[in-house]
Symmetry: C2
Subunit: 707 residues, 2 copies
């Protein structure tokens, strides 16, 4: 890569205050980064034109080059499809003659002789500067149909060769590039190389705001960009501020594992937030120091109160704010003087109500004193390993492996209610609200190294710094799943997001592709996010793609198969010997294959034998069970035998994901609860949900590189 040439061109354009580069500049930049463009040259004589055409090979286009002739075609200055010595010579002479006739006083530089492209497939490679993610590279098929069908894919730049290849393979119409119905397969490697180079270029030169190669002609022999368009950022290019990881962790650790908490605005008055927060800290069982701060009281709820945070003896790790917005700046300054590292800002009345100035003020105070701010405009946060409930809601007691975060308070309340009703094991619930400072990537950085957390589920409407999020998520995903519910997915949804937080919701396709690049499991809706959060930490990671359905109800088997396809799961092709073994356990009219239909009237022993075989055969990697309520095998009998067989296998070191759909009368509900308690994901009255959960686990396992 010849970065010197690019720097020179960009600097020259900047000096001239230009926001766009010319075509020749674009070509030089492409050359500098090894992006193929049409071969061409300038001929000043007919002989030179003939020589150039010979070097280029194939048909060429000849075009007048003159600073005085802007509209070449009008001046008779363009001849295309020229091939052979005579034809090239004639074209050269005709063009010069036409140009002279058109404007006798024009300075004629010569005739450009250019390789003509065509054939193969037209594709688009581009890069843009996304407000959320920064430099983003794009790939799609050219042509009007694909513009209509919006078949395009994005990645965070820069991309390596594998990621670039995943873009070429990732569009819906990828089959076209691999050659269909007699069409020739194109050189996808060459295309990936162009994508990689473009992504590198815009990363090396952030002032390139937009970059378009449209079209690129892709053929069996390579790829060549027929047209290049480059737009520049004329203003200042600012990089977001990113504290170093150690610094993030140092403060986040004090926030989540504090030894001492101050409640600013603690109150004895029932119904006040400062009353709820203090009570919840105490009743939740938090074992550290709790200091009420209230200038008007000696004591609050029987604890000594201090007039200011500065009066508290010893260090304070967290200050929870329960005072009106207008009182926050002064109290926050006192926290700064005291050296409090983290402030939890429950109050609303900041940017979300239009008071951006007040929010800017507290952000400034936070920066000045090095206080990290959670919120404002939040319900607070829970961290169950510390029995910590710094919220105005109610304590939550079921400890477990999932950390949940929400940008919206309402969604936070739904998280709490769902957790309670499903007895979901939770490590943390955190409100992010206006995200004036602490955001998702800070939390991911903490949860990544938090042994109490095995999975993170996040509701978000926007990302302050998409790139930092992707980096944090990519690190986390290697170890633990990250589930994301991105609200404002659709145009209408984004409009609502705009009115809610002032956040500019990005185009969903960009979010979708880049969240996938980050290894995130995206939940299509709130309920799915909650169900994935509940179930993913309970399921072991699958070790391979072979999924087997064992069902007592043929009808469930069909629906479970549908759900497998919907969720990108592979129904294993059962090898003959395994099929034979399964057949030994099921009636002759039952269907082996996959789904394995053990038929409806079977006793517990049939379920037991087939499930055991499914667990013990090492070629099978995950089981989906379809239970049919009968008098012969009642729901709790099925639940108990399944849990027992699964636990026996675990005792032998076999831990495969097992999910179940229970079709039956209301007794199946209790059976599902029992199975959940034994780490078998089971749902009544649905064939879709257990498979969707398994699909989410597989998406994570693939992203984590486990498969």
């Amino acid at each position: 890569m010849d970065t010197g040439t690019v720097r020179e061109i960009l600097d020259a354009a900047r000096v001239q205050g230009r926001a766009a580069l010319t075509a020749p500049e674009g070509k030089r930049i492409c050359d500098a980064y090894g992006i193929p463009t049409p071969r061409e040259g300038l001929a000043t004589t007919a002989g030179e034109a003939v020589r150039l055409a010979g070097e280029i090979g194939g048909p060429v286009a000849c075009k007048i080059v003159s600073p005085d002739i802007p509209h070449k075609t009008e001046a008779g200055g363009v001849v295309v499809g020229v091939q052979g010595e005579t034809a090239v010579r004639e074209a050269f002479e005709a063009i010069i003659a036409a140009a002279r006739a058109y404007d006798p006083s024009a300075t004629i530089t010569g005739v450009q002789v250019q390789q003509m492209l065509g054939g193969g497939r037209e594709v688009i490679v581009g890069a843009t500067t996304d407000p959320t993610f920064g430099k983003v590279v794009a790939f799609g098929l050219g042509g009007v149909l694909v513009e209509v069908l919006k078949d395009v894919t994005f990645r965070l730049a820069p991309v390596g060769t594998d990621e670039a290849r995943s873009m070429v393979d990732g569009i819906r119409a990828a089959e076209v590039l691999r050659g269909v119905r007699g069409g020739e397969a194109v050189d996808t490697g060459a295309l990936a190389e162009v994508i990689r180079a473009v992504s590198r270029l815009v990363t090396d030169f952030p002032e390139i705001r937009e970059f378009d190669l449209n079209p690129v002609f892709a053929t069996a022999g390579g790829a060549c960009a027929a047209d290049v368009r480059i737009l520049l950022e004329t203003g200042e290019v600012r990089e977001p501020v990113r504290p170093p990881r150690e610094e993030i962790l140092r403060v986040m650790n004090r926030l989540m594992n504090p030894r001492s908490i101050a409640v600013i605005g603690a109150s004895d008055t029932e119904g006040k937030i400062g009353n709820s927060v203090l009570k919840n800290l105490v009743n939740g069982g938090y074992a550290g120091e709790i200091h009420p701060v209230n200038p008007k009281a000696e004591e609050v709820l029987g604890r000594k109160a201090y007039p200011s945070v500065g009066d508290i003896p010893g260090e304070v790790d967290v200050a929870v704010f329960a005072v009106p917005a207008k009182l926050v700046p002064a109290a926050l300054t006192e926290c700064g003087e005291k050296g409090v590292p983290a402030a939890v800002l429950i109050p609303s009345g900041f940017a979300e109500t239009g008071n951006q100035a007040l929010q800017d003020e507290i952000v400034g105070i936070g920066r000045r004193y090095g206080i990290r701010l959670l919120g404002p405009n939040i319900y607070g946060y829970y961290y169950t390993p510390q029995n910590l409930c710094a919220t105005f809601c109610t304590p939550y007691g079921v400890r477990g492996g999932v950390a949940l975060t929400s940008q919206s308070g309402g969604i936070g309340m739904a998280v709490l209610g769902f957790s309670r009703t499903t007895k979901m094991g939770v490590s943390a619930i955190v409100g992010l609200g206006n995200k004036s400072d602490v955001d998702e990537d800070d939390l991911l950085t903490f949860f990544e190294q938090d042994d109490n957390t095995r999975c993170v589920a996040m509701h978000l409407e926007d990302l302050k710094d998409g790139r930092a999020f992707v980096e944090a998520a990519q690190r986390m995903t290697k170890k633990k799943p990250v589930v994301v519910l991105k609200a404002g997915r659709t145009a209408l949804g984004a409009r609502a997001a705009g009115s809610h937080t002032g956040a500019l919701a990005g185009d969903d396709k960009v979010y979708d592709d880049i969240l996938r690049q980050a290894g995130v499991v995206r939940a299509p809706g709130l309920n799915e996010m909650l169900e994935y959060a509940r179930s993913l930490p309970l399921l072991p990671a699958p070790r391979g793609e072979n999924v087997v359905i064992i069902t007592g109800a043929g009808g469930s088997g069909v629906l479970l198969s549908d759900a497998c396809v919907d969720n990108g799961l592979s129904l294993m092709d059962i090898p003959p010997d395994l099929d034979e073994t399964f057949r030994r356990f099921i009636p002759p009219f039952g269907a082996a294959g996959n789904p394995i239909d053990i038929t409806g009237g079977e006793p517990p022993s049939t379920y037991e034998a087939t499930i055991r075989l499914g667990l013990e055969d090492p070629r099978i990697h995950a089981l989906i069970l379809g239970y049919w309520h009968t008098i012969v095998t009642p729901p709790m009998v099925f639940a108990e035998l399944t849990a027992r067989v699964v636990e026996e296998a675990r005792a032998k070191g076999i831990d495969k994901p097992v999910v179940a759909s229970l079709a039956g009368d209301t007794e199946v509900e209790k059976a599902c609860e029992y199975l959940f308690e034994h780490r078998v994901i089971a749902y009544p009255y649905t064939t879709e949900r257990p498979v969707a959960v398994l699909g989410a686990k597989y998406r994570w396992a693939r992203a984590a590189g486990l498969l």
Copy 2:
């Protein structure tokens, strides 16, 4: 339409035992049905060729016509792109000369002079004979991209002009036909006309098995089929047997409202099906006569038993079979002799276990005696208006407006459990099993005129007679929604269906389009089918497309908006005067517009005022409520005020669909139950489900022509 010409061509082909028509025959058939094909003519002299080319206009193709020259191009017999008198004359002479040189002994009929097509868009119009639906017409864009992206749509033939237009508008890339990025809009009316004609043709002549116009060139000036391919059915074309509607109704009425039921195989032995069925009939509260049939008992469960159905005094409307499969034929024959009109065949051991012969035997007996058969291989059926539980499950007591049917027993059990746990109001639950006789269209015919049923939900894996189903569904849909869960949607799913019932699951795209054509609301999964069934009868029909979201949680508002787009709902553009009125009730920093964000800390009066306004303003047609659990407006307070305001509006004659998403702690669950009881569809911990239900109601309302 010149049906005489078509009949003549088809008869000639049949006589010759041909399965395909020639291109000239295809062209004559197109002409007969007004399908435009290229203008052409046969020239025997150069002069004639020139005259023809002049008449046709534009460039023409010239092709040798000779019975002895099958490969025209090889013989130098084709010249394309010919324009102008001299060129046509030269082409004619060159072709004749080349043909003579190629085969001096060949008979030369002349030279075909044909209009050359091109420009515009290439599309495909076709028709095929689907095993489920019979004649089906298809439309899609031509070209490799669309073949890859499978952008094609189907309808049951014949279609009228509106339906044909809906096909042209219904493909994903329809925008291309309307003209994009400088491309010219094509004459979609002419395309629709071609589709209509093709659908008419294959309907008039069922022996046309497949019909392809590929490509059709669509331009601003019209549509012209460049190539036609017609394949014929050489075997016998059989029409399915369809009893007249009155006959179906007569028997179905006796099945659902019987005065007398015989239980064949009634037993005193606990655990036997014949014991369960008899007990359930008695315990369910069925008020008609119940006659046990058992040759080995004087009495069963204290009731007089008869050795055979023939011994029962008086008429018997329904015979429920609870005997092993092998005993069915004899007992069914006795029912025939007795004149029983309907047999409910619970036993398994027929086609589903491979015993097709036994199933054919009972179907034969049914036909011979005019007995309609439900099953075999079913759990039985419920009809709550008669307190009728003729199943081996348990009675179900919550009467209501929804009738549910399932092809699979396991799914039937899930229907029962879900119904019980949600207290769903049910009119009927019917098992269809092997569908040896009675199928979905018989049931639809009954439910259409059954005042106890307001909505039908059907689980099905295949349709025996897709066309009869569509006709019954179209009649029903005008009055009441039909929800369908079609299992075996996917390739993998269809494979499972094949192994389950021997049913040939059709291609899902055909099912999807034709079920929509039938006005059916398709449920994407089991749980959705059950939720739609539960909710649709409770919601009033919307009177227009203007949906408004009123939310206390901005975060829910964003997710509810996303869900509106996903479900094809239109968020109303709130007019300024209405916006002004809403603003009067909400805090200044709340967002009017749509969603209307009343903000989180508001008292009950704000919810009440805004909901009342939403109900009373006639420009708003449906409300989606987002509730956020707060101490100021607790869940039950929200539920009660909402139910009250909705009921006040109903008392004034305003009945709009209202759905709600409740975000909060577990108390929201009780609030949702309360709202359901007051016909407000409400769910906790999900923003998607209430909107999906409203979307389903809208899909029905549109199909019923109410909007």
